[in-house]
């Protein structure tokens, strides 16, 4: 993992001091809420339904056991005993008091963490592939570049008040596991024919109201130029991105309006002055940072372990788990293990303080003290010895972290939804739970196979519903009611695509039935080992639509009095401005 030097530490410490003073000025009334809002947002602090929510940056998803224990401490000390891992590999806490947030930041700084730029109209946390450094299909380890970009974007003076938020994802493997096509900038670290490292640069991807798949702006950018090239993209966006309409302010709208050729011309005209200038990366700096990402002390092992095969023959649950939650590793005798935060009945992405402490212990004992947060809201132990699998599985099972459902029906990606978020039109988490319970049967899940269900409570798409094989979005037909649009055909990865809505929206209780009908079509139409998305691509949307709307969806509804009040607030929140 990257380790702070004195400079990194000083910058983060000074941020704590700065924010403590900003909070003091807000509490004393020196700062208006309007003035304070962008300041707190650039520190990841939102005012939600029940209180302040703090989003903590987990840079490119990498977290140490010590940092995980700090999350547990924060959950206990300042929150209600749990935290929520997000689709951008961060963690957020939902029940905080404003006056305590400076202390939380100080606690985080003590373990080399922060909440800088996890929200606001600035460059957000850089995200990456959860299997960086260990995936067999990795071409270039992107971690040093992710860290260098993190530092470059941290408090960049020119790009703190952009037209809108700005998200960068970086990947270095043959298969894109970082959704780089769905980001404002997507970077794919590649090698050219001479074996030199560079980046394929995508721009203008994004979800939200207007989902767009990113477009290539540069096929091969030598690594030395990555910071200056990104700087030029941001400068063009900062100057010309729309500021008159929040819903048209993302870079994708500018790229569409100018066309990729004109956008590229402007970027490269700006870049001409910067290229080979002082912002050019040096080999020394890349080596310095890469020195933090060297291999742990792997043992020399073989990939063949007879005890695992014997145990698999005896235990179906273990076999299922190995099939879904264990991934190959580039080093013989090692595997990566996904700890599922998607046990049916639980909130997707949530972990209790007790689980976090236990997860940290698992990381210490089985994976060199490191963990990764996935953008699908699970956790990864990246460097596990194959021979430890049985014991790890037993322990993870006891902690309710071993649901064998990674990439299956119940591995649902969900935003927090209307119970927590002022933007959401509809509840997400209860719907995720309801769907997971309906399809809990593990044999059925394994029969259906690879599928992604993504739920967002509104069109802002925090649940990345556009790239779910089945995407669900909360909509309001009239004030205070909740409806759900269902789309199919979305996908992430090398074959990224945006899902298409199948028809009129549904009520809360109709959605599981709709999914059931979609699955019936798939199970009937699929050829051999075809996955859900492959069948959708082959047969098109029509058979699915037809079957969903063939007969009336008669499902009993229990009306919800107030979708925002399902989780009762425990204390008064200062400066609370309710949405309704």
């Amino acid at each position: 993992m990257y380790r702070y030097d004195e400079y990194d530490q000083r910058i983060v410490d000074e941020r704590v001091v700065q924010f403590r003073d900003q909070v003091r000025r807000r509490l004393s009334g020196e700062l208006t809420e309007e003035e304070f809002m962008p300041l707190r947002l650039q520190n990841g602090l939102y005012m939600q339904i029940h209180g302040y929510m703090l989003r903590i940056a987990v840079p490119y998803g990498l977290v140490s056991s010590k940092q995980m224990r700090m999350f547990a401490h924060i959950a206990r000390q300042y929150d209600r005993g749990y935290g929520h891992f997000t689709t951008r590999q961060n963690i957020q806490f939902n029940w905080l008091k404003l006056e305590e947030t400076p202390n939380i930041l100080a606690d985080l700084a003590s373990v080399q963490m922060h909440a800088i730029q996890t929200s606001g109209n600035c460059v957000r946390n850089i995200t990456s592939d959860e299997f960086v450094g260990v995936a067999p299909d990795e071409v270039v380890d992107p971690r040093p570049f992710a860290e260098i970009l993190r530092q470059w974007s941290t408090f960049h003076p020119e790009f703190a008040y952009l037209p809108r938020k700005f998200k960068i994802a970086i990947s270095g493997a043959q298969e894109d596991r970082a959704a780089i096509y769905a980001h404002d900038i997507g970077l794919a670290a590649v090698r050219n024919e001479q074996g030199e490292i560079g980046f394929r640069v995508l721009v203008g991807g994004g979800l939200g109201r207007t989902p767009v798949i990113g477009t290539e702006i540069c096929a091969f950018l030598p690594w030395q130029h990555v910071l200056t090239y990104v700087e030029s993209i941001l400068r063009i966006y900062n100057q010309y991105g729309r500021r008159d309409n929040k819903f048209k302010a993302r870079i994708k709208i500018l790229v569409k309006a100018l066309g990729i050729d004109e956008f590229k011309r402007q970027v490269e005209a700006d870049w001409t002055d910067l290229k080979d200038g002082s912002g050019t990366l040096t080999a020394e700096e890349v080596e310095r940072v890469a020195g933090c990402f060297t291999d742990p002390a792997y043992e020399t092992l073989s990939n063949h372990d007879s005890t695992i095969s014997a145990y698999k023959a005896d235990s179906r649950p273990f076999t299922h788990w190995v099939m879904r939650n264990v991934r190959p590793h580039r080093v013989p005798g090692y595997v990566s293990v996904v700890l599922s935060l998607k046990k049916p009945g639980c909130t997707p992405g949530d972990a209790t303080a007790e689980q976090m402490d236990a997860i940290a212990d698992l990381a210490d004992r089985y994976s060199f003290g490191e963990l990764r947060v996935t953008h699908k809201q699970n956790l990864v132990l990246a460097d596990v010895r194959q021979k430890d699998l049985i014991q790890l599985w037993q322990e993870a099972t006891a902690l309710e972290l071993a649901s064998p459902n990674i990439g299956l029906l119940t591995d649902i990606i969900s935003c927090p939804g209307a119970e927590f978020c002022t933007l959401a039109n509809a509840r997400s988490i209860p719907l995720a739970k309801s769907i997971a319970q309906r399809f809990e049967d593990i044999d059925f899940q394994h029969d259906v196979g690879e599928i992604s269900i993504n739920i967002s409570g509104c069109m802002n798409a925090c649940g990345q519903h556009h790239i779910g094989n089945i995407g669900i979005t909360g909509v309001e037909k009239k004030a205070h009611d909740e409806w759900y649009q269902v789309s199919i055909g979305g996908a992430e990865g090398n074959l990224s695509s945006i899902g298409k809505i199948i028809g009129p929206s549904f009520t809360f209780n109709q959605v599981p039935e709709v999914i059931d009908r979609l699955l019936q079509v798939y199970l009937q139409e699929r050829i051999e080992a075809e996955s859900f998305i492959e069948t959708v691509r082959r047969v098109g949307h029509e058979p699915f639509k037809k079957h969903v709307f063939a007969t009336e969806l008669t499902v009993e509804e229990e009306p919800v009095a107030d979708k925002h009040a399902v989780v009762p607030a425990k204390y008064e929140v200062p400066f609370y401005s309710p949405r309704f």
């Binding site: 910058i11 003035e35 962008p38 470059w152 960049h156 003076p157 020119e158 020195g291």
Partner: protein, 174 residues
């Protein structure tokens, strides 16, 4: 009073803002030290450039390149922040300094608040006129929020990795 070169000083420049009925061609520019809107400069250039000292200000949607040929004629160039959250002024300042080579006073005017000053000085502003309802001594503190930064801009010109010898993986493991 304004902040200039990290000190609070008296300021005798007047910022001319066009009123509802004013027209750039015909608005009267009073004698003395005046910072005129870009449009007034462009329309009254012949007369204004006779003055010993003149300033110009840019709105956040105006292009600094417009001043390319005149850049050394100004004692002051100001950039207006209509709202503190409008970040275009940062790129305007960067381009004035880094691309157009402007070396005179570069002043932030408009919705200029303490918590934006640190970033403003880094992209090339050396003078700040904080909003009049705010305490200028308090605003001054905003210039020293951080003692170190990562990236190059106008100030400093070099990124951290070119300025100092940074430690590698020898630091204490978290």
């Amino acid at each position: 009073m304004i902040i200039k070169n990290k000190e609070i000083i008296a300021d005798d420049w007047m910022v001319l803002r066009l009123g509802e009925h004013d027209v750039a061609e015909s608005v009267t520019v009073v004698p003395g030290k005046v910072i005129v809107p870009l449009q007034v400069w462009l329309k009254q250039r012949d007369a204004l450039q006779q003055r010993a000292e003149i300033g110009v200000w840019l709105a956040s949607d105006e292009r600094p390149e417009t001043l390319r040929d005149d850049i050394q004629k100004f004692t002051v160039i100001a950039v207006d922040f209509p709202r503190f959250s409008d970040g275009r002024g940062y790129s305007i300042a960067f381009n004035l300094r880094a691309r157009l080579g402007y070396t005179g006073e570069l002043r932030a005017i408009g919705d200029v608040l303490r918590d934006q000053l640190f970033y403003m000085q880094r992209v090339g502003f050396d003078a700040f006129a904080p909003r009049s309802d705010r305490n200028i001594e308090d605003a001054l503190k905003g210039l020293s929020d951080f003692s170190e930064v990562y990236q190059n801009s106008c100030e400093p010109k070099l990124p951290l990795f070119r300025r100092v010898q940074r430690k590698g993986n020898t630091a204490q493991q978290v």
